[in-house]
Amino acid sequence: MNIKKILPQLLTLLVVILVFGFFSYNAQINMENRGITFGYGFLSQESSFDVQFSLIEYDGSHSYFRAYLVGLLNTILVSVIGIIFATIIGVVVGIARLSNNYLINRTAAVYVEFFRNIPLLLQIFFWYFAALRALPLPQDTEPMFGVFFLTIKGFFVPAFVWNNLDVFIYSIIAAIISIIFIRIYAKKKQENEGIQTPVLSISIGLLLILPILSFLFGGVDASVEIPVIKQLSQSGFTFEGGIKLPPELISLALALSLYTATFIAECVRAGVQGVSKGQKEAAASIGLTPNQVLKLVIMPQALRIIIPPTTNQYLNLTKNSSLAAAIAYPDLVLVFAGTALMQTGRAIEIVSITMLTYLSLSISISIFMNWYNKKIAIKEK
């Protein structure tokens, strides 16, 4: 190796280490002067505060680390919901903007311009407090389909109570694995013999049949638990049983997806418009159906343009979910960098853990999207 090439890099590394070293040394001295101790031991202490909504079992007798997991899972939950809905809305609106129908493409354009030009925090406040004002109290609510209850205290939906849930899950996993094998087989068959296999119908069939078989022969059994209204006081009511989605989660997911969808819509529009018209015409001229044109010719090329900027939007959405603290949705920032920080006073430790967590979340999304991008990139032969 050439020393001239290595030396500048080593020097840069040294400078980085020195800068970090200086700051951590400085922080250490200042903390010592102010009588603040440093350490991560507090993570195993009892947290002694409760959280309104949690995906795992948690209450104040659990540790601060458990509280961290509660916050992290809630952040991931709202991000995943947000990403799914933002993508669906974004793709629909993006394609709507390309429509020849004047009404459809103008509506889509107005939506995009309106929602992307209002600060996200305001939109979150709007959806939350508008929802609180507009939603009925539990005792006034009209059930949807008899089992869904949308109230100011949350969206109460029926829950499934399972027997032998594991058998059911195995049946789904088995279905997914067989679908993967069938796809590989179908692709080979098409490449070798030119015969197409109806993969989609077979996949759907498998996904239905295997779980049904698990019900019939695997001893799986599910009953539905419907929420029931409960009186708390003369004027206060709530629902019991079923699953409760807090209004904070709903309004946060709504605001995040409506906001991010506008950017994704623009990515989609750019992607589709970026494929030259000749491609579509050429594909049609060799006898492909419009569906095939879209699936086999336009989308593979458009996706290459769409994926990288959309990755950015997914990252933005995940990071923006930290605005949850404003409306009491117990995400990582509210639970861990909020309550836990306040109760322990360990600002440096907690903020550094929180920053590292968001960094890892973002990098994971990035790695996944880069992998997907590479997969759909042009493979030069």
């Binding site: 002067n33 206060g236 019991e240 306040m342 322990t344």
Partner: protein, 346 residues
């Protein structure tokens, strides 16, 4: 030889000058915060983002409240002018970091004195300027008249990162009631969510409940339950490690309370210099050298009483006359059945 002697003399002279300088401003030197405050010309004070009666800004940006008056008293003692205060509104979450990172020098923001806060995170509590306790607010038409009427499934709105959150858990756990905590960062959002019906009850310090109730759309539809579920001694906080500054803030607060005890008010303070009671004379700086012990002049306490008033005046002006808590309850002097009791200034 003479050359060296000359140099030696000048060195000795320099050392002597330095030494006199050092002794003169010993207290100021010992306290970095006091020195910085005098250099800047204002006291940096952290307050709430708006809690009527404690720290609240009017439309013109003038801060009033009993917490604000503690900072004004320190400014009067240290700088001679109660208006030389720079107020920084802080959320519950920001407050301690702002103090430990030197953004502010006094945190006077309805903060509960607890062991872990005092000992663990680089803070020192200097006293109590309001004895409070946590309570619950409910809708009158709910028929709930006591905390024993709460049922499992009750949702409670409160502020994030406060002792309230912990007390609430202790309380509901001891009653065996499963509950839903809804925690917001800002008090205004707690009020808005409770007002809209998101929560069945709103819980925080009783003084806070009384102050926030007037922000509700129909204050008369709500009431505070009689029970108090916790001890919340609220008081000013300073950074750990500057004992002179700590003493100045502590005794500025004590002066206000002691002045009320001896009947010294902003109106009669000057005439009290000729009082027969030595304790009163010490309080207004007509006897003793108490100011020097703090690194201040001897009129420091007189200025506090004249410019800010005694504790009773401050309470009446900010909390009683505004209709928040007309009854002083525990915040009455020990001589009148309350628990306000401060060490003597002598």
């Amino acid at each position: 030889m003479f050359k060296y002697l000359k140099q030696l003399t000048s060195l000795v002279a320099m050392v002597a000058v330095l030494f006199t300088f050092t002794t003169e401003t010993m207290a100021a030197k010992k306290s970095k915060t006091l020195k910085n405050t005098q250099k800047k010309g204002f006291v940096r004070c952290g307050v709430s983002q708006g809690l009527p009666g404690f720290s609240n800004a009017d439309a013109a940006g003038n801060w009033t409240g009993v917490d604000v008056d503690v900072c004004r008293a320190v400014a009067a003692a240290v700088l001679g002018d109660a208006n030389k205060v720079k107020f920084t509104p802080l959320s519950a979450k920001e407050r301690f970091t702002a103090l430990t990172s030197n953004e502010i020098d006094i945190l006077s923001r309805n903060t509960t004195w607890t062991l872990s806060r005092d000992a663990d995170i680089g803070l020192t509590f200097v006293g109590v300027n309001f004895y409070d306790g946590q309570g619950f607010m409910v809708r009158k038409n709910s028929g709930i008249s006591s905390v024993n009427d709460f049922k499992a499934g009750v949702s409670a709105c409160t502020n994030l990162g406060t002792t309230t959150e912990l007390n609430m858990r202790d309380f509901f756990n001891s009653k065996g009631i499963q509950y839903e905590p809804v925690t917001f960062e800002k008090a205004d959002e707690v009020v808005a969510a409770y007002d809209a019906g998101r929560c069945d009850t709103y819980t925080t310090d009783k003084s806070g409940l009384a102050a926030q109730r007037i922000k509700l759309s129909n204050p008369d539809d709500h009431m505070v339950l009689p029970e108090t579920i916790s001890k919340e001694p609220l008081g000013p906080v300073v950074r750990q490690g500057d004992s002179v500054w700590e003493d100045i803030v502590r005794w500025s607060l004590n002066t206000m309370i002691e002045a009320e005890e001896y009947g010294v008010t902003s109106a009669n303070a000057d005439s009290m210099k000729t009082s027969d009671n030595p304790a009163v004379k010490r309080l207004v700086g007509a006897e003793g050298e108490l100011g020097a012990a703090l690194g201040l002049d001897n009129e420091w306490s007189l200025r506090i009483i004249k410019q800010v008033g005694n504790y009773g005046e401050s309470y009446k002006r900010n909390i009683a006359d505004t209709g928040i808590l007309p009854d002083r309850g525990p915040n009455e002097l020990w001589t009148k059945g309350g628990i306000l009791y401060v060490p003597p200034a002598r």
